[in-house]
């Protein structure tokens, strides 16, 4: 287990300008405004500052419609920010980066390709060595428990399995950061808990930095080193808590008093709103 040394990289430099150079990814004074069809201006995100350190697992928790997905899409580079800067290892970035992997709310697997072909999509698009990565794809698929399903088509897989394949696709080109947008939101409660344990295992064995969007308080606490709380529109970061539990975490952790204390605090920060239902 490489949990302990990953934990030591945990940092809480959100918002501190001096630590920006040490951060893998930093987001500064990010704003997003847009116009609705009726012409009124909506402020989706306001003054967002985030720093991610190497190997950190950070979650953003917020009610539906608070702009969490927009924040992720801005970081991914497929939605332009209205103001603010993004930098990766100190260098300013705009637009999509090969150093990032993304897992969306739905698996977005292409039905005309096998699982193996699907997870190799980033390799093809980025024109990397296909032959060399095929072996890696098989290894990663085995890691997420999809050994034997390489040549299956996505339609033959369950929702949980499809999302595991999507995680492999997010990791295949070895990005520094994995960005995940409510990847388990569409799964049933039991599958979701199992996927949380799985994701922790995958994260511990790949040592990636993960930026995880969710509206589930318990999911955020269970998985993260740090949880950032995004308020309802306009989305601003209203709280940040560090999660001190050692890794690997067991699902029984969820029923301990300490876990309850953290989730209660987060629910308080969310204002007891809609994000508390699970």
């Amino acid at each position: 287990m490489n949990g302990p040394d990953l934990k030591s990289t945990m940092s809480s430099n959100a918002g501190s300008q001096s630590a920006a150079s040490a951060a893998l990814l930093s987001v500064r004074a990010l704003e997003k405004r847009y116009r609705t069809k009726s012409g009124e201006e909506v402020q989706a995100l306001k003054q967002i500052n985030v720093d991610l350190a190497d190997g950190e697992f950070v979650s953003v928790l917020g009610p539906s419609g608070c702009g969490k997905t927009t924040l992720l899409k801005i970081i991914v580079g497929i939605v332009p920010p209205s103001a603010g800067t993004l930098s990766l290892r100190g260098a300013p970035i705009s637009g999509p980066q090969a150093g990032m992997g993304v897992v969306f709310q739905s698996s977005v697997l292409l039905p005309w390709w096998t699982v193996l072909e699907n997870v190799l999509l980033p390799i093809r698009v980025l024109k990397l060595d296909l032959a060399a990565n095929r072996k890696k794809a098989r290894d990663l698929l085995a890691l997420v428990g999809l050994k034997g399903f390489e040549n299956s088509y996505p339609g033959e897989l369950s929702g949980g399995m499809q999302q595991r394949a999507a995680i492999v696709r997010g990791l295949i080109h070895d990005p520094g950061i994995l960005l995940m947008d409510e990847p388990f939101g569409a799964l049933d409660a039991m599958t979701r808990e199992r996927m949380n344990v799985e994701l922790q295992r995958i994260w511990l064995s790949t040592a990636k930095t993960v930026f995880f969007i969710t509206h589930s308080v318990s999911e955020a606490v269970f998985l993260s080193d740090r949880v950032l709380v995004l308020s309802a529109r306009p989305g601003t970061l209203v709280d940040e808590i560090k999660v001190p539990f050692p890794r690997p975490r067991n699902i029984d952790l969820m029923s301990t008093a300490e876990f309850g204390d953290l989730t209660r605090r987060l629910r308080g920060a969310l204002g007891g709103g809609e994000a508390t239902h699970d």
């Binding site: 580079g77 497929i78 090969a98 993304v102 977005v108 039905p111 698009v125």
Partner: protein, 272 residues
Amino acid sequence: MTEAAKARPRRGLTSTFAVLASVGVGILIWQCTIWFTDVPSYVLPAPKAVWTALVDGLARSPTERSSFWFHLIDTLKATVSGFLIGAMLGVVFAACMAESRLIETAALPYVVGLQSLPKVAIAPLMVIWLGYGIESKVAMAAVLTLFPVLINALAGFRSAGRDRLELMAALAASRFQVFRFIKFPGALSMIFTGLNIGIVYAMLGTIVSEFTGAQRGMGVIMTQMQSVSDTAGVFAALVVLACTGYVLISIMRIAQNYVVFWSESTVREVET
């Protein structure tokens, strides 16, 4: 799944029986009309006469001008090559229009103009331009195939899901990559919808062109039979055309199920 598998052969048997019974009743009504009314045979020939004409036309060697094969081969050649040309052009035009606003705007008056035109009406023009050989038939078949394929392919290229496009955008994929990996395979199901209509239209275009002016083809032999009031022969030619059309449509179905194997609608079509 298992229940469906059990139910299927029985349903298949029932429907085979229903089809045979329906055809039988149809022929019976036809025969009764001949027996109990005095419709002259040049208006409605007896089933037996049509059958004789059919067997006679098919039994002759393909080298004879009175053989159905002699004409059918030419009709098929024109239909298939016109279909292939029209389908290819339809997909290529649709791709250009889907990828470029400018091309789309420029093509719009032609598309709208040709769409509002009953396209078989250009058959005489094709004969003037391309003569009485196979070329004018191929051109007609191609023109008639082009439109349903173009319209459906265009809708298919446009229907690429937002989440798939975002996935590609996150990888900074080029437009060509987006087209090749996402838009084209995603449009295949709709392209086949266009191709299924297109193959029927291609044969229609060929026959109309043969009526207008050609040296060979099923349309030619039918016009000849018409001029000598060989109604049984015309009926027999129609049977040949219907069977040929059925074979072509079946080939398209099989190709569709093979190519677009992942599509929900494909699976459903196989079962029914």
